[in-house]
């Protein structure tokens, strides 16, 4: 067993699960999407991205790309939240919530791709 692989897999799966946790629930109901879960998802996604740095293989490049997509969408969601709550004072109205959650939904798709690649890689290795 390789500790590096454990940590790598752990962060990728955790990024996907946290993302899913934030995403799940009715899309326009603010209390079903906790902001701390978004925060955790961003942090774990960033770490997963950094872990993927420097791998020059083709599969490594796709890995990095999916993570960058997820980061981009989650950070966009966070900015959306910050603007709505603090800048415009609009608060978490259903339309704002729907926007943030759908952005995180996109990120989740990227994270799922990442997980699929991880699984594919593992299967190829074990055969």
């Amino acid at each position: 067993m390789n500790l590096e692989k454990v940590i790598f897999g752990f962060f990728i799966v955790l990024a996907a699960t946290l993302n899913f946790g934030f995403f799940v629930g009715d899309i326009d109901v603010p209390h079903q999407h906790h902001v701390y879960e978004l925060f955790a998802a961003i942090v774990v996604n960033l770490i997963a991205t950094i872990l993927k740095f420097g791998d020059r293989t083709q599969i490594g490049a796709v890995h990095l790309a999916t993570s960058l997509v997820a980061d981009l969408q989650l950070i966009a969601a966070a900015i959306g939240w910050g603007v709505a709550v603090h800048v415009t004072g609009e608060g978490m109205t259903p339309s704002v919530t729907a926007g943030i959650v759908s952005l995180s939904g996109g990120a989740m798709l990227a994270n799922i791709v990442s997980v699929i690649i991880l699984i594919a890689e593992t299967v190829m290795l074990r055969r």
Binding site: Y36, F39, V43, I47, I50, G54, V85, H86
Partner: protein
């Protein structure tokens, strides 16, 4: 760029993760700890947004003075911890980055990447110089003087560093690497579309051979100039079709023989292939009679063979008895002592060649020899360029510096394709012919080594002239290329050396020479004259002015309005 970028990313993984974690923990903590209002009542904790904002300016030690509200003691405690944590995180990142930049492997990768980029972005014609020792250095200066670009590959780091201190007009891309691997050569632009030629000038015959083979296989059409110090290497290079093989020792032997046969021709040859900025040699004629050759190495052998061909009596002085037994008259020894020289008959000899591998020995030989016989004609071999002061002080009749000989040869090949043809003519001509030509050239151009250039009367090189010759069927003489492009009564400081038409040579054509499309011409002159001549060749209006003395209207409308015969007279 790719490899460097990935290297940075890989090395920065740990510090970046640490930073992200520190930020995450700090922000999380700050968003959970309750604050306090002026009346002492606990308030809601900071929101994630405010916490992120606060940590961002604190962690980067910007210390922005904006505090959202007065902190509670719990918040202060947490922020204290955050400050230390973040300082540690940033320090760790910066130190890792600095260590990476100090890393020799990383710096090499960076230098290589930059070199590759600069070479691939070159959009001017350039030469690839492998090995920038003394020869390479001389050639670089000469090429720079001719405003040509070059790319350098050199194995020795100190030479590259010295290169950066020299004041070249352009900043030449230079790589510290062994030029033997083909990847290095490809990176240095061997297959680049603007590469004009490869100069293999390292002091290692094996490396030169490797470069020649790589160039032959990877860019077969590219001219390759190779330095070869042994006959075997030269033969090997010739076997796979290297265009120009330069053996400095053989060349010098030939030159010495030429100087003896036709001193004027030698002088002319030396002048035309000279390094830009140098002057014409004083005329010295190696006398015929008995010669002494000290040191029968590659240099000595070449000299001895050429002198023998000239029918000169030879005495060889060499430490090895096996070598000297080839010649009838020989002495075993070095020649630095008066005794050996006297035994070799220095008092009755007319010339001496000091050709050992050691500069000190060579100087010692000639100083002793001159004391014994002040009239001796002295040929000195100088091995190190650094000893120039000593050799200048001695004032020998002829000094042979291998690096300069190679540079001369390379310049002859590189400057103008027609020059080697002209030099072949010079070698065949008589002494008197050469002397006359030198006088004529000197009168027009002065003593300095002239700029040489070839002109092809083709649509690409001389569009205006080619058009006038082919489309307008005008009769144009060489005269119009020798006149000033804005004051046609003045002549340019240039001199036609050779005209080539369908393989037939016309040496020093006169101004009445009728030009035809496809002719190739070789000129000697100043750089300014070359520029002005190019104007005549390329600009129809200038050409018309030079031919007719009239200013022709430039635009199409004015040309249509002006009298019909203005352009065609």
């Amino acid at each position: 760029m790719n490899s460097v970028f990935f290297l940075i990313l890989r090395r920065m993984r740990a510090p970046l993760i640490v930073l992200v974690l520190i930020y995450a923990v700090s922000i999380l903590g700050l968003s959970l700890i309750p604050g306090i209002d002026p009346s002492g009542q606990p308030t809601r904790p900071m929101s994630l947004f405010h916490a992120f904002y606060f940590i961002s300016y604190t962690a980067t030690t910007i210390g922005f003075g904006e505090i959202p509200a007065v902190f509670s003691d719990a918040q202060r405690l947490w922020v204290t911890a955050c400050i230390y944590l973040s300082v540690v995180g940033w320090t760790y990142s910066i130190l890792t980055l600095l260590a990476l930049f100090q890393d020799s492997g990383f710096r090499l990768a960076l230098a290589t990447t930059r070199f590759r980029q600069r070479v691939s972005r070159l959009n001017e014609p350039f030469y690839l110089i492998c090995g920038c020792g003394e020869t390479g250095g001389l050639l670089m200066h000469a090429l720079d003087h001719m405003q040509m670009r070059f790319v350098v590959v050199e194995i020795n780091e100190t030479r590259i560093n010295e290169l950066e201190l020299e004041d070249f007009r352009t900043d030449a891309p230079a790589l510290i690497a062994d030029a033997r691997p083909p990847q290095t050569l490809l990176m240095a632009g061997l297959a680049h579309r603007k590469c004009l030629g490869v100069l293999a000038l390292t002091n290692d015959d094996g490396a030169n051979l490797a470069i020649a083979i790589a160039a032959r296989l990877l860019s077969p059409s590219l001219p390759v100039l190779c330095r070869a110090e042994t006959a075997e290497t030269a033969a090997n290079m010739a076997s796979f079709g290297v265009h120009h093989i330069i053996n400095p020792y053989e060349k010098f032997g030939e030159y010495l023989a030429l100087a003896m046969d036709a001193p004027g021709c030698h002088r002319l040859l030396h002048w035309l292939t000279g390094i830009p900025g140098r002057n014409l040699l004083e005329e010295t004629i190696p006398p015929r009679g008995n010669w002494i050759v000290c040191g029968y190495s590659r240099f000595g052998r070449s000299i001895a063979e050429n002198l023998e061909r000239e029918g000169v009596g030879l005495t060889i002085i060499d430490p090895s008895p096996a070598v000297t037994s080839i010649y009838a008259k020989n002495i075993v020894g070095i020649g630095t002592g008066a005794e050996t020289l006297l035994k070799a008959g220095v008092e009755s000899a007319v010339g001496i060649v000091a050709g050992t591998d050691s500069d000190v020995d060579n100087l010692s030989i000639v100083i002793t020899a001159r004391e014994l016989n002040p009239k001796l004609y002295v040929v000195l071999r100088q091995n190190q360029k650094a000893n120039k002061v000593l050799f200048d002080a001695f004032a020998a009749d002829l000094v042979m510096l291998p690096s300069e000989t190679v540079a001369h040869e390379c310049l002859a090949i590189l400057t103008a394709p027609l020059l080697s043809r002209f030099l072949a003519v010079v070698k065949r001509e008589t002494d008197a012919w050469a002397d006359t030509l030198i006088e004529r050239l000197q009168a027009r151009l002065g003593n300095e080594v002239p700029t040489l250039w070839s002109v092809r009367l083709a649509a690409s090189d001389a569009p205006a002239l080619h058009r006038a010759l082919v489309l307008d069927r005008k009769s144009i003489t060489l005269d119009c290329l020798l006149r000033h492009s804005s004051r046609r009564d003045d002549f340019l400081a240039c001199f036609p050396l050779l005209a080539l038409r369908e393989g037939r040579e016309q040496v020093t054509p006169d101004p009445h020479f009728r030009l035809e499309a496809g002719d190739e011409l070789l000129f000697a002159g100043t750089a300014e004259a070359r520029m002005l001549q190019a104007l005549t060749l390329q600009n129809t209006n200038v050409l018309d002015y030079v031919m007719s003395g009239r200013e022709i209207p430039g635009g199409w409308i004015w040309r249509a309005l002006s009298p019909k015969n203005a352009g065609s007279s």
